[in-house]
Every structure is written in C-alpha cells, then in structure tokens.
Symmetry: C2
Subunit: 417 residues, 2 copies
C-alpha cells in the first residue's frame, strides 16, 4: 500500500520554513504498514496542485495534503479540493465552528467573519475536527482511494493525524511492515561499514539495511522488512537476532534503539544508579540542558545547569580559579575540569558535564581555532576532559559538542561499572 505526501505553500518552496510535517506523517504511515512512495512540495497554485493530485492517484491509494488552509488570501487548498472533488456547495460544519468560537474566546479575541468562514467545508468531504486550531481537516474519497487535507501548523496536524490513522487502517487492508533501528555514536559511516561488512553480507535477502548518518545523533542502522506474507512476530524475532549479533560487534558504540537519543541513554544509566546530573555550559550555551530536558521525566535525574557564558560567571558561580583562566584561557583542560567539578559541587549532583570552546564565527586564534572545544565529565570518583576540533560553523559546533559531551558521560557511566 503506497501513499504520497503533498505539501502546499510558497513558504516551503522559497525556503522560509523547514517542512517537518512530512517526516512525521511518513513515520506514522510506516507504523501501520503504508509506504510513502514520494513527497512533493508545490506552490499555492491551482494547476500545480491538481496536476500533482492526478499524478499521485496513479501511484498511490492514499494522498496526504498539508498546508494552504489558513484564513488568508494566499490559502487556496480548500477551494481547489472542493472543485477537484466536485462539491455542490460549501456548508458550515457546526462542531468546527464551535471550536473556532471557543479558541477565539479563550484568546479573548472577537469572532470575525474570516474565522467563521474557516468552518465552511465542501459538502463532498468527511470533516475531521481540528481541536487545536481554526482550520478543520477534510477526508475525500474517489474510487476507494482517499485524500486527506490538513492544516500545516505542526501541532495541529499531529493531533489530527491521531484521528486520521485509525480511519485509514479501517478503510484499507494493510501489509506487514517492520523497521528497527540501532543507534550508534562515535564511529564514522565508512568505518562502521567496514567493521560490520561480514555481518551485513550474511543478512538474508528480505531484510534491507540502511545507514542513516547524522552529525548530532551518530549513525543509525535500520533493518526493514516489507514482506507481508510472513508472520510479523517472526520478522521481529529475526531482526532482533541479527541486531543482537551486531551489538556484540559494536559493543558500547550502540547507545539505543529506535526513538532513543543520547540524552535519554545517559539518563537511563543515571536512573539505574539513582544518580543525578548537572551541566556547566559555556560554548554550548544551554544546548545540552535543552537536549536533556526535551525528554519527559528528565527531572528524575537532571537537577539543573549553570550556563557560564562570561568568565565572571565561571569564577563566581562555579568557583573556577580566575588565575587559571588567565594562565590557560577559558578554553582549556583546566577550566573545563574546574567547571565540571564546580557545578557538581554547587548543584550537589553525582555527575556533571562541562563544555568550554570557541563556537565561532569569531574568537578563534592560531593556537585555538574556531571549533576548539574542551569537554569535561566529573563523576563521584574523578574528572576527565578531552579536546576536540570540530568545524567552522557555529550551529554544528554547538550541536556536535553537546552530543559528544553526552556520549562521554554515557561511556563513563558504562565503564565505571
């Protein structure tokens, strides 16, 4: 069973926004055994939209459309779909109007004619409620195939997808698809490929391996099967068997599975030890704390952080030796170690991470170029630090240093066992 995703909006085509919706929709469809054949982004243009719907109906049974449902003049999706599917008239969808009224009243905004018109839907669609916004979603059918149109605001779309997925499962009979991903950090893709060559060559034909490299999260190794004939539980067992072999080869390079992340992996190890963590961040500026606290439940092991952007804060809050900053510079082994030990002491945590570096674009020297970062980890028993020379790009340096720091902590937690 194939699907296509069509995102509508000039803002995507001129690059003003990154399309995060498509990834989410694709992931959800995959979970119920629907493969996404193609994703297409088109402009707010009638002909371009309808051409692509025509084409997508030839490759797929499911078309998911996002965007172009706003209240303003450049939003034409609803009108185009009404004509495409031959609506006789637009009619007010009362439950959607109620939501619009209550949203506006909660925001203390008078209800406008523009708002009310958003509740008008083509009479040939099945309305799908949007509980978080003013544009309802629409479900259309043609010759057994379906098209669902949703607003482009990500959190509105996600909530609607929750309701649409069971509708799709019910409408179609779906195949067996299964993916599992092993997450690795610290070995580049090409080296990893050499290391696991023998294992990879022994994989059976019906298991497909993909390498998914990402500078912030390492290389993900995904095994997929699209074989609908076999029993799903057997496929799961088979993939687990191959991944167990892979874990023996890669050892601590593997930090998790599927939707895990480095912060979560470190967090799980901390929880096993009933231990707590604090961070002292200079060049990463809160990014590590942000990665940790993005995970629900992180308050169980994360006590907090001191973002010591200025040297004053390093000295005053973290008790870094001012003369060491003078002597070795803020980006040094000594200062990183003292930051980690300092934050561990003042926030009274068991473990601590510290970063001090030159994120760029300015501030580099011949001796310490942009991208130089010292990362330290303090434990109840010791403090270690390591120097990295990353890139010339500020955002890459911040995210990469954060990932390396969390991985250093993770390896310390494993190795001290």
């Amino acid at each position: 069973m194939n699907a296509e995703i069509i995102t509508i909006g000039d803002e995507i085509l001129i690059g003003q926004i990154v399309d995060t919706n498509s990834a989410y929709i694709a992931e959800q469809l995959n979970l119920i055994g629907v493969s996404v054949y193609q994703k297409t982004s088109v402009s707010d243009n009638r002909k371009h939209i309808t051409e692509n719907i025509d084409r997508a109906f030839t490759t797929s049974d499911i078309i998911i459309v996002t965007g172009g449902l706003g209240p303003t003049s450049d939003d034409i999706t609803k009108q185009v779909l009404a004509e495409y599917f031959g609506a006789n008239r637009m009619k007010i969808h009362e439950p959607s109007l109620e939501i619009i009224k209550s949203l506006m009243s909660r925001l203390d905004i008078p209800l406008s004619e523009t708002n009310c018109r958003q509740a008008e839907l083509p009479d040939c669609c099945i309305p799908v409620l949007n509980r978080n916004g003013t544009a309802p979603a629409m479900w259309f059918e043609r010759n057994g195939k379906i098209l669902v149109s949703m607003p482009g605001v990500p959190f509105e779309m996600k909530a609607i997808m929750n309701d649409v997925m069971p509708m799709i499962s019910k409408h179609f009979k779906l195949n067996n698809v299964y993916h599992k991903t092993l997450l690795t950090f610290g070995i580049p893709e090409s080296v990893l490929a050499e290391q696991i060559k023998d294992w990879e060559n022994k994989l059976p034909e019906h298991l497909h391996l993909a390498y998914l490299p990402n500078p912030e999260s390492g290389v993900k190794l995904r095994l997929s099967t699209y074989n609908s004939a076999d029993d799903k539980n057997l496929l799961i067992k088979e993939i687990d068997k191959h991944f167990n072999r892979l874990r023996k080869i890669l050892k601590t390079t593997v930090y998790g599975e599927n939707n895990d992340n480095l912060a979560l992996a470190a967090g799980k190890l901390l929880q096993q030890k009933s231990a707590t963590l604090a961070t002292a961040e200079s060049c990463t500026g809160g990014h590590i704390a942000n990665m940790i606290t993005a995970n629900a439940g992180s308050s169980k092991y994360f006590v907090g952080s001191v973002i010591a952007y200025s040297n004053d804060v390093k000295v005053k809050m973290l008790y870094v030796n001012a003369s060491d900053i003078e002597l070795y510079g803020a980006v040094s082994n000594q200062v990183a170690c003292q930051m980690a030990q300092g934050v561990r002491a003042v926030l009274n945590s068991d473990y601590a991470i510290a970063t001090s570096g030159i994120a760029g674009p300015d501030g580099g020297t011949a001796e310490k170029p942009v991208g130089t970062v010292w990362i330290a980890v303090a434990t109840p028993h010791k403090v270690i630090a390591q120097k990295y020379i990353l890139s010339k790009l500020r955002d890459v340096n911040i995210s990469r240093a954060s990932a390396i720091a969390l991985n250093m902590l993770r390896l310390e937690l494993i190795n001290e066992k």
Copy 2:
C-alpha cells in the same frame, strides 16, 4: 528561471530524518533570482530517480539533487547519474582523493578501499570539491540545463552550495526577484489579517503578500516581487515604502526583518542600552539560553543562566524563598519573580528572564494543568510576571514559553524608554 530540488533517500520517505537541506537550497536559489518550482523526495530507486529527473528537466533549467552519495550499498545516486548522463567510465578525481586522505588521517582512521572509491567520478561531470566530507559533488550539463548532485549531510551540502551558487549565476542569465519579510509576534494570523486588511487591499498587483505563521517565531509577513522588467532598486524602495506603512499599523508587534529572530531583537535592544541579560529557566530547561546563544556575538550581552530544574537549585542558587515554593508552588507568580530577581542578582546582570511551568506530559493538576507557565522579567526598575496556559505537548510548551519570554523582555526594553 525555475529549479527543482530532488532529495534521494529512503530515510526521508520513512520519516527518520527531517529534510532541512531543501529549505536551505531553496533560500539560496531565491537570493539569486531562481524560483523553486517543486521539491520532490524519492527513494533510493533507479527508475524513480530517473523518472523524476526526466520530469524536472521539462519544468526547470536547474535540478539540485541531494543524498545517496554515501559509501554504502544503499547509495546509488552516483551510478544512476553516470548512466543517465552517459559516462564512458569512472575516474579518480585526485583533489577529492586528497581531501578523503586528509580527513581520514585527521580522524586517525586507516584509509579503506570504500573511502577511495568515493573519489571515483563519472568522466562526464565537472567535479565540485567537498571540503568537509568524503563524497564530492558533481555538476552535469544537458542542452544548456544543469543538474548538481551533492551529499545529503547538511553542513557538507551548505559549504558546497557556496561554490555552486556562483557557477549557476555564471551559467545562466537570471531574473530580478526580491523578497522582504516583516516579523511579528503576539497576534494570531486571522486577527492580523483583519488588522491589516485595508493596507493589504491597497497593495499593487505585482507585489505578492504571504502570511507565514510559526508558533515559535510568530507570523511573518512576506512581500515578494517576481517582476524582472523593473529596476531592482526601485522594487526594494517600493516594498520598503509599503512595509513602513505596515510598521505604523502594527507598531511593537513587529520585532524584525528577514532573518532576525526574537532573541536577536532583544539582544539588539540590550546592546543599545549597553545592558546585560541572564536567564533562570525551569520548565524551558535551557531553551531560552540556547535561542540566545545560537546568535553569534551574543556573549556581548548574555552573561549566562541558571537552569533551576529542581526546587533545591531554585532555593540554593537563586535564593527563592523555600516557604513560598511550599505555599504557592514552584509554578507561581511569586516563584517566577523571585527566580528572575535572583538570577539578576547572582549573575550580576541588568535584566533577567525566568520561567516556571509544567511542560508535560505529566505533572499537571486540575488547578495547574499541563501547559501552565509563569514567565517573569526583572529589570533594573521592577519585576513583572504573567501566566500563560499553552498546550498539552511538551515540545510546544518549551518552545512557545521561550518565545513568549523573549518577547516579554523585548517589549519591556522598548516600553521603558
């Protein structure tokens, strides 16, 4: 002049990664007057790739392809393009081989046969160096039209685009395109549309207005012109004239232009006053500090932050009254204000922001549901706080609370003048 962007990779179609490359490429092409007609994501499949190249050559003169150039078996783009453009043979591109060797030696990894094969390129392409990775880019020509294939790793792709853009400008004669964006925060799209209706109706035919709403950055209003006949400087002046009128209507709702962001807007105001900022974050967990320090030069006004995730840290580091936490709860007017005043005092800054809330998914009560956030701003003269009830989604609550906090600071900085 049209372009199409084709991203290749199963990882995009199964939603394992968000495609950030397309937005960047589209933005770069727009700057030199190239419109992106369509973006398409296809699988690592020979037929699917070539069909889309065939189709894209009918709509566009420029095709930008990313992905599928890795060293592993699922990466087929190079081979497919070699056949598509009729290469006679693959040959080693020595400068690329040098880069691969130096990258591997810097990482202290022995050079493998897999690595070396990445420097083999079809003899019908113009090689484009990839200084940051092992997969070089390729420039192909057919009947005056071009196709550029680049690796999918974002920072490698961005550096290559720097070299490719002048090559495109040189190869084609390009039209006049001009976009300008005004950034607003605090008014929903539909209300904004009502407020500026009269202004919008008076816009001339050749200026196109788009509303770009984003929960973290507010509603962006973009005026575009695609009229190649007119002088570019006149178009710029005309758009500025209309935007100046719009600024008079929207006043302090406008926080910047084009690539500005809320943190930068607040930072500029701080710099005008030679003032400094600190943050005390509970529920936002470092996200505000991260937004501030993402901007180069933020060390001029940002001294640091205390991420006070646990109540202990609030009391010990920020001198929040423990009995007030007991009496009013950590998510309260009193605690938010004391956090802001506390961090302002201990980090010795002129201004401070504090957040305390229930990000979710757990921790909500009937009185304080998930999404309840208190945000406080402390200035040299006073401290103010406000309560918001945001959403049920953790990531939305963190990012939205961060944006509201920065906007509160910005408005305080403007209004106290």
